[in-house]
């Protein structure tokens, strides 16, 4: 599903060039769940953004679903994001003036697959928010919002889920709701890449990698 070879990523800072990822090589099979852990600023989120095609400034090779990201145009990568990849961020962002259902409807319009209103309703049921279809995002709790974000990431039924600290802003109880949902998605055969500090969430992964000194080290498999 994901194959990364000799990936290098650097930033230009006022103090010169800063290497954030060096010679990263990684392979994630379809249906596998990988957790990436490491201290803040080590490059975990950067790696996730590179895999999702949000960041395209790198050297080396990233292959997602058999496609080399470095060879794709912006349009092709965007369409890949709209069909094969779903994102969940630490702080989910929604359009506050639209209700939850419409928020997902808008996202569905950019999906490469055809998504009907019934499909969206099913997603609401799946994440346990069936009663909140017409609610507005500011009426939902943090845990509910993160579940809504998971539902949005699942619009179009993507093969790959990229989750950046999905429980980072949640207390233990609501975090568990999200973890359970991710476990359910894993059971369904989704490939999941988790960037986390959360030990409990990392337990969900088949494989745990650690980024240290800009290098990726497999910590547990």
């Amino acid at each position: 599903m994901i194959k990364i070879e000799k990936l290098n990523k650097k930033y230009h800072t006022v103090n010169g060039i800063k290497h954030i990822l060096q010679d990263i090589t990684l392979a994630v099979k379809a249906g596998e769940c990988l957790a990436i852990i490491g201290r803040s600023g080590c490059g975990k989120s950067t790696l996730m953004n590179l895999i999702g095609g949000l960041d395209r400034d790198f050297t080396g090779s990233i292959r997602v679903s058999g496609k080399y990201l470095e060879k794709l145009s912006d349009e092709q990568i965007s369409k890949m994001r709209g069909g094969k990849v779903g994102f969940v961020f630490q702080t989910p962002s929604f359009l506050q003036h639209l209700n939850c259902f419409t928020n997902l409807q808008y996202a569905a319009r950019f999906s490469s697959s055809k998504v009907s209103d019934v499909d969206i309703e099913r997603l609401f049921c799946k994440v346990g928010l069936a009663e909140y279809l017409k609610s507005f995002p500011d009426e939902l709790s943090g845990g509910q919002l993160q579940r809504l974000a998971l539902a949005r990431a699942m619009v179009g039924d993507p093969e790959l889920l990229l989750c950046d600290e999905p429980t980072g802003n949640l207390d233990a109880e609501t975090g568990e709701e999200v973890i359970n949902l991710l476990a359910q998605l894993k059971e369904e055969g989704k490939t999941i890449l988790l960037v986390t500090h959360d030990e409990q969430l990392a337990m969900l992964a088949d494989k745990v990698c650690h980024i240290d000194n800009n290098k990726l080290v497999e910590a547990r498999s």
Binding site: D74, S78, K79, L95, H97, S111
Partner: protein, 431 residues
């Protein structure tokens, strides 16, 4: 391109930010309205006034000129390399000798700043001068009172005006200013001052001392300039030399044919010599039309300037909107929106602003044009030049207004659309 998705975002955004779009509409509406007013007025004047101003000119009168493009009030100096055949005294004599020619006379425009001032029925009036000079001999058959229309070093400058000018005065000017109607008889002998070397619009002449001469209206003539004064040729020659430093030439030669059958042969003879020949009706109206065209072009230029400011304003507001929606744009990018779609979203917002601006601008423009029309026509009364409508809306004015509005709106959207499309989704998500 997922149009449905983009259109949904555009609709939502326009709904959410009405105030922003209303603010950006002001300039666009003003620009479109000004375009409608200027074009409809110009078209109306062309069709309802210019066409009729020269309708009385005889069909057998030819106007011979050197310039294929006569810009009337805005006669442009022809570059040296383009100067060819000249309208000389010799040519005039040759024309007079031709078979079928009844008479021919040269017209020399007063081509330096001058203005007319005077007291008219207790009111101080003044206007910039449009004037020409003709050879007194050329009009002696038609004009009775020829002894008065000649060059003289002493006494007032004799002036002729056209019958059309008297008609215009009686039907419009007199009514607008509550002045009494006049007849040829009552006007004869009327005196006024002519300031040479200075005008209201043209400023000062290139050289010569500004001075005032007294003029006296000695009569009416079909050969007089339609709107303006006509003086004996000798004055024009002398004054043009005094205030421009150059020897002036005829701008046009008018040739009256004995019958329509003589036109073709003489026209060909003149054209073979390199002159531009048209009937006086066509030639004179073309000159006025060209003047009007230049005035319209200047006014449309003003409207374009308004639209450029509107486009700049729209660009600024769209930039603000993009900044405000940075996080949203980042979000749409993560769920699959392409750069082109984001760019299209901003451009469509501008395009819709342009369309709404066009509709409102057209409504406002028509309203303003009609008010102007009403104000002028009601004051002017029943001018014989059919002032039923001073403004006319040709069919093409509507699509032009829409295109004009959308074009400038899109122009204003180029930079913000580019900026929105190039936003780094990761940075944008941070807000």
């Amino acid at each position: 391109m997922r149009w449905q998705a983009v259109l949904a975002l555009v609709k939502d955004n326009l709904k959410r930010n009405k105030l922003f779009f209303f603010a950006s509409l002001v300039g666009v509406v003003t620009g479109v309205a000004s375009l409608i007013v200027f074009l409809s007025l110009s078209n109306g004047i062309n069709k309802n006034i210019v066409d009729k101003l020269f309708e009385d000119l005889p069909e057998t009168r030819l106007k011979v000129s050197t310039d294929p493009l006569d810009f009337g009030l805005f006669n442009l100096a022809k570059p040296g390399f383009l100067k060819g055949s000249r309208l000389s005294e010799k040519l005039l004599r040759d024309i007079r000798k031709r078979k079928g020619v009844e008479k021919a006379y040269g017209e020399m425009i007063i081509n330096f700043p001058a203005k007319i001032t005077g007291t008219f029925f207790g009111h101080r009036v003044g206007t910039d001068l449009v004037g020409s000079g003709v050879d007194p001999q050329a009009i002696e058959e038609e004009f009775k009172g020829k002894e008065k229309f000649k060059y003289s070093k002493k006494g007032p400058v004799p002036v002729l005006v056209s019958y059309k000018l008297l008609e215009l005065y009686n039907s419009a000017f007199a009514k607008m200013n509550n002045f009494p109607r006049l007849t040829e008889k009552t006007l004869k002998g009327f005196r006024f001052d002519l300031v040479l070397g200075k005008s209201y619009l043209g400023g000062k002449a290139a050289q010569g001392k500004i001075r005032t001469v007294q003029c006296e209206l000695v009569g009416f003539s079909k050969s007089a300039i339609a709107v303006g004064i006509t003086v004996p040729l000798e004055y024009t020659k002398k004054w043009n030399k005094e205030f421009t430093g150059k020897r002036s030439r005829f701008q046009s030669i008018y040739v009256d044919m004995k019958n329509p059958e003589s036109i073709e042969e003489n026209q060909k003879w003149l054209e073979d010599k390199g002159f531009n020949v048209a009937t006086a009706k066509e030639g004179s109206s073309a000159a006025v039309r060209n003047s009007l065209l230049i005035i319209t072009a200047i006014l449309v230029g003003l409207s374009v300037l308004i639209m450029l400011i509107a486009a700049f304003n729209l660009a600024f507001l769209l930039f603000m909107m993009v900044q405000k929606r940075k996080k949203e744009i980042g979000l749409w990018r993560t769920v699959g929106a392409t750069r082109k779609e984001i760019s299209l979203m901003v451009s469509l917002e501008a395009c819709i602003t342009g369309l709404i601006g066009a509709v409102l601008g057209i409504v406002l423009g028509v309203l303003l044009a009609e008010i102007i029309d009403l104000a002028i026509v009601s004051k002017a009364g029943q001018v014989s030049y059919a002032l039923e409508n001073l403004v006319l809306y040709p069919w093409w004015i509507w699509p032009v207004a829409v295109f004009y509005s959308v074009f400038f709106a899109l122009l204003g959207s180029i930079a913000p659309a580019y900026f929105a499309a190039r936003l780094d989704p990761i940075e944008a998500m941070k807000g």
